[in-house]
Symmetry: C2
Subunit: 311 residues, 2 copies
Amino acid sequence: MRCSFCDKQAVYFKRISGVAYCKNCFIKHVEDRVRWTINKGKLFDWNDHIVLAVSGGKDSVVMMKIVSKIEKNFPHVKLTAITIDEGFNGYRAEGIKIAKKFSSIFGVEHLIFSFKDFYGYTLKEMVDKAEKRGSPYHPCTYCGVLRRKILNVKSKEIGATKIATAHNLDDEAQTILMNILRGDIERLIESFRIESQECEGFVPRVKPMKYIPEREIALYAYYNGIELYSSECPFSRLSLRGEIRSFLNDYEMRHPDVKFSIVSSFEAFINKIINKENSIKIKLNRCRYCGEPTTRDICRACELLEDLKVL
Amino acid sequence: MRCSFCDKQAVYFKRISGVAYCKNCFIKHVEDRVRWTINKGKLFDWNDHIVLAVSGGKDSVVMMKIVSKIEKNFPHVKLTAITIDEGFNGYRAEGIKIAKKFSSIFGVEHLIFSFKDFYGYTLKEMVDKAEKRGSPYHPCTYCGVLRRKILNVKSKEIGATKIATAHNLDDEAQTILMNILRGDIERLIESFRIESQECEGFVPRVKPMKYIPEREIALYAYYNGIELYSSECPFSRLSLRGEIRSFLNDYEMRHPDVKFSIVSSFEAFINKIINKENSIKIKLNRCRYCGEPTTRDICRACELLEDLKVL
C-alpha cells in the first residue's frame, strides 16, 4: 500500500478515514492532530506555565516531545515536567529514568515528587495497610486520587497555570463508558465540568492527546526512539477498566469510529450544558406533510416514506 | 434453596439483591415492582385512557396482565390494547392471535392497525423497495419510526391520554448504551425528554416495565401460562442492538447491577436537566483538613488517608 499523500511505502492505515500514511506523513499527522486539539479547545495561552504530567510511559513522553516542539514558537510559555514516584516495589524506577532522560533531550525542566515525602507513606505501604484492614477501595483509587492531589498542590507552588496530562482517545472513551456502566453519569459530568471550567484552587487540566488513539501513540513513540516502558502497572489486570478496554477494542473492529464517537459526542454535550444552550423546553414544529409534531420540518416517518418514493 | 420470604422451595434467585423467591413470592415481586414503577414515576392518573402497545410478545402480554390487574382498582381508567400489523411474511400473525386471546382474557378492548392500510405499503414492501434502491436505512428504522407514528395518531383518534409500551430493563439499558457508542448522546437525551414532558401533539409515553429484567418477565410469563411467542424478528440478528445485548448479558455475570445502574443513573440525570436543578456553576468548598478545593467537606484524598489511619 502507498501513502495517500506522497506515494511512498505506507506504514499505517487509518480505518476510520481510509487514509494510508508513510512514516514521515504519519509523524506529521499525529503532530498536526495534537496541534489541532490544542487550537480547537484553546488549551494553552501565549504566556502559560504548563506542567506536563510525565510518568515515563510512552503517552506522556510523546506528549512532552510534541508539546515542547509546538510551544517552541511561544517564547513566553514555560514548561515543567513533573513525575510522581508512588513507591511500589520499584515499579516507577524505570519510568523516572526515562522521564529524566527525555526531559533533558527536549530541554524541559524536570521535578520529581514522592508519595513518601508528601503523604508519609509509599503507595505500597498504603495498599498493604488497606488490604490488611479490609478497605473497600481498589489500589487504583488511592493511586489516582493521591497522584492528582500532589500534582495540583505542587503545580500551584511553582506558579503553574495549566496541567497537561497524556490521556489518549482510548483512555477517554474507557472512562466515559466505565462511569456509565457503573451508574456514575453525574460524577462523570461533574468531573468534566470541573476540568473544563475555571475553578478556584484547581490548576486547570488539559489533555492535548485526547483525540490520538493509543496505537498511534505507540507507533509514533517507536519511530521516534522512545522506548516502550514495559513494566505494566501490577494492578491493571484487576481493574474494571481492563474489561472495558477489551470490549472497546473488540467492538472497534466492526465499528472503527466508536472511541471517537463516544468522546466527541460527550464533549459536545458537556459544552452545551456549560454554555447554558441546554434549553429546557423543546420546541416542536408540525410536519409539513402530515401535521404530526416533530423537531424537524418534515417528520421522520414522512421523510422515510418520501425516500422510498424517490429512491 | 428456600424462599427468603415464606421458606418454600425457591425458583428464582436475584443476584443483585441476594434474595430467593418461591413461585408465588416471585409473581408478587414482579407485580409489586411494576406498581412501584407506576407510583414512583406517577405514570398514570386516576382517569387516564391508557393505550397498551401489545405486539403479542411476552413483554407486552405480561404488561397487559399486570397493568389491567392494577388498574382494576381505578374505575375511571380505560384501557385499550393496540396491535400494529407491520406486514412481514406473516411474521406478526401469531402475535396478533396471542394479543387477541389475552385481551379477551384480561377484559381489555383490542384494536389492530396495519402498515398497509395506514401507509399504503406493508413493511415487507417497504424493505424490498428500500433494498432494491440502495436505501441507507436498516429495516428496524422503518419499523420503529412508522410503528410509533401509527400508535400516536390512532391513540389521539380514540382520545387516549397515555401510551404504555412494554420496554423492559434490558431494552432500556441497551438503548442508552447503543446511543452512547454511536455518539448519539444528544438524540438520546432529546427523546427521553420528549417522552417525559408534555409535548403538544404527542400522547405521553410511559414504560411500566422499565425496571423489570427480561428474564423475570420470561419467568413470569411461563408461570402465568403466557406462551413465549417464538418467531423472532427476522432482522434482530443484523442489528447493532444484538451486539450490545450480548455484551451487557456477559458483563452482567460479573457486575449484576449493570443494567439497573445504567437506566437509573441516566433517568436521575435527565430529571435534573428537566427540573432545571442543573446549576451551571459548581460550588466548591475547601477541605477541612488540607484546604484544597473539593465538592465535599473533606477532600477525597484526605478521606482515603484518614481511612487508612482509622481502619
